[in-house]
């Protein structure tokens, strides 16, 4: 049976967190998404992202402020580069680089937030099922 991809979303508490929790959007967050609130997207480390994959996540999203509106000046730019580093590492180990992404989002963009999560889920869904098909066996052990 096909399972939903597991997504971990690191959310800056000034942007992504507020967009995730904005009640004005009727669409609730899907069950397959875990939200981790961080004080600034710049505090998300490379090891946190890899750790999420290690813990069984299929995709990792980092939501930070739009360029030029980070409360801590350049935290969003820093994490964007770390995400790129992880993407390259994933590529190096034969995974798809699109399993991890940085998404700029504002507190009022709850629709955009959900759209980006859905995009990532879709992207990852194809990958894990392709992979599982390839393995042709136990789907739960697939990365």
């Amino acid at each position: 049976m096909r399972r939903e991809p597991r997504i971990v979303a690191f959310c800056c508490e000034h942007s992504g967190k507020l967009a995730a929790g904005d009640e004005s959007s009727s669409a609730a967050l899907p069950d397959n998404v875990g939200i981790i609130s961080v004080p600034c997207s710049g505090s998300v480390q490379t090891i946190d992202i890899l750790g999420a994959f290690r813990a069984g996540a299929d995709g990792v999203a980092v939501f930070g402020c739009h360029e030029g509106s980070c409360k801590h000046v350049t935290g969003n730019k820093m994490v964007k580069k770390r995400v790129e580093y992880v993407a390259r590492t994933l590529e190096e180990i034969g995974w798809n680089r699109e399993r991890v992404a940085f998404f700029p989002v504002a507190a009022v963009e709850s629709k955009v937030f959900r759209d980006r999560l859905a995009e990532l889920s879709e992207n990852v869904r194809d990958r894990i099922h392709g992979y599982e098909k390839c393995l042709g066996k136990q789907s739960e052990s697939a990365p």
Partner: protein, 438 residues
């Protein structure tokens, strides 16, 4: 940041830290004077620095205010008087800031005045160094017939003072506003008010050439209408920059105004004969403003104005707690806005230093000194200048330390430290959170 909803974790304790209630205000223009006055009203002692021999700033060079009825002179002079009579303000003229160390609540500053260095301590710093008008004129034209807006302001002051000067006013005057940078709005407003002033004081014909007429300010739309009804001719330029050439009798300025174009192919090219051309100069951060940015270690916008272009910082905050900006140094010229910013800066200072003490959560972010390689990565990455390197009594580096009172607990240093020496105790997401969420 929300100060109240967060529960303080067990590893974090609240500490009462004394802060210095003296405030340093750098710059004695409108913004600096107003900030100082409001601060004294809130019970603070203020040191006011002014590089010139007397306070007042660049507003004194204006013949009138943009779109406002108040007299610029009176506006400043009343504040200078109030400052002079206020025992809580120490005014240092002809003085420059040459050194800043320490952190919010306890800045140590060095001030140079008349060849002497004065040391001072203060809890907060408000930068109100204002803006400066460059003297250099771009473009062509003979020096007698071409002047800057700034020079025009000077002549208008003369004109207001004596009847005889009025008869000497050239009969055809053309003012050009170039549409570049934040200051274009200021020069558009300035051209309008000065054109109207000339019209009212003399019989000259006045032409204003600009891309956009700036009316986004108090009284500016009225000013625009009045200028037009008094006979000021306004050309709105299209694509082409104004061309200036010298003629036998004066200057000829060719402009293209599309609304003047007519059916039949005429492109709207108009030649204005004039005997005085007023060109804009650039408004810039004063030269020592630039060195001040380095001295204070504050980030600025791409044009060099104080304060980075970031919605969270506006109106008066900097990337460093305890350092604020007000007025022209931010690239602002509207007197109403400048005065509001000055008040805002005073409020921020008050909310930071009131009672001379602060409750500071200590240990939200902590360095494990035994792991610290003193590689300076955290020092370089901290956006709020909240990290210092501890030295032993011989001056040797020991480890990095978080300055809790300046720390915003953003966690950037935690993420950057290559030795895993910095940990965030409060509000930290941990591996188990990740596991749970998966």
């Amino acid at each position: 940041m929300n100060h109240y909803s967060k529960t303080v974790n067990s590893g974090v304790r609240l500490e009462r830290i004394s802060v210095n209630k003296r405030v340093l205000v750098v710059g004695g223009g409108m913004a600096g004077l107003e900030t100082a006055l409001k601060l004294t009203r809130l019970g603070y002692e203020v040191t006011l620095l002014e590089t010139a021999e007397s306070p007042g700033g660049s507003i004194l060079s204006l013949s009138s205010l943009y779109g406002l009825s108040g007299e610029s002179d009176l506006l400043v002079q009343s504040r200078i008087e109030a400052i002079k009579q206020n025992p809580a303000v120490r005014v240092l003229t002809g003085a420059r800031l040459v050194g800043v160390t320490g952190t919010v609540g306890d800045f140590r500053v060095e001030i140079e005045q008349a060849g002497q260095t004065i040391e001072n301590r203060c809890g907060a710093i408000v930068v109100a160094t204002g803006l400066e008008f460059g003297e250099e004129l771009p473009g062509t034209g003979s020096p007698e017939k071409t002047i800057s807006h700034k020079e025009l302001e000077r002549r208008l002051v003369d004109l207001q003072q004596s009847e005889t000067n009025r008869s000497r006013m050239p009969s055809n005057i053309c003012l050009i506003v170039e549409d570049e940078g934040v200051d274009s709005a200021m020069f558009s407003a300035s051209a309008l008010k000065n054109a109207l002033a000339i019209k009212r004081l003399s019989k000259s014909s006045v032409f204003v050439c600009c891309d956009n007429v700036n009316v986004a300010g108090s009284g500016l739309e009225e000013l625009y209408r009045e200028a037009r009804s008094e006979g000021v001719v306004i050309f709105r330029l299209e694509d082409m920059r104004p061309q200036v050439r010298e003629t036998r009798t004066g200057l000829a300025v060719t402009v293209k105004d599309s609304s003047a174009a007519a059916p039949g192919g005429w492109q709207g090219l108009i030649e204005i004969e004039c005997d005085l051309l007023v060109l804009p100069e650039r408004a810039t951060v004063p030269a020592d403003g630039v060195s001040l940015q380095h001295l204070l270690n504050v980030s600025c916008d791409s044009d060099g104005w104080f304060q980075e272009n970031n919605v969270w910082a506006k109106p008066v905050e900097s990337n460093r707690r305890g350092i604020f900006f007000a007025g022209g140094c931010r690239g602002n010229f509207d007197v109403e806005d400048i005065l509001a910013e000055a008040k805002g800066a005073a409020l921020e200072v008050h909310n930071l230093l009131r009672h001379g003490k602060r409750l500071v959560p200590v240990g939200r972010v902590a360095v494990d000194a035994s792991k610290c390689a003193v590689c300076l990565t955290c020092l370089r990455s901290c956006p709020h200048d909240a990290i210092e390197i501890l030295v032993d009594d011989k001056g040797h580096n020991k480890a990095a330390r978080i300055i809790d009172i300046a720390c915003e607990a953003c966690g950037i240093c935690v993420a950057q430290c290559p030795a895993n020496a910095i940990q965030m105790l409060a509000d930290q997401f941990r591996d188990q959170d990740v596991a749970v969420s998966v």
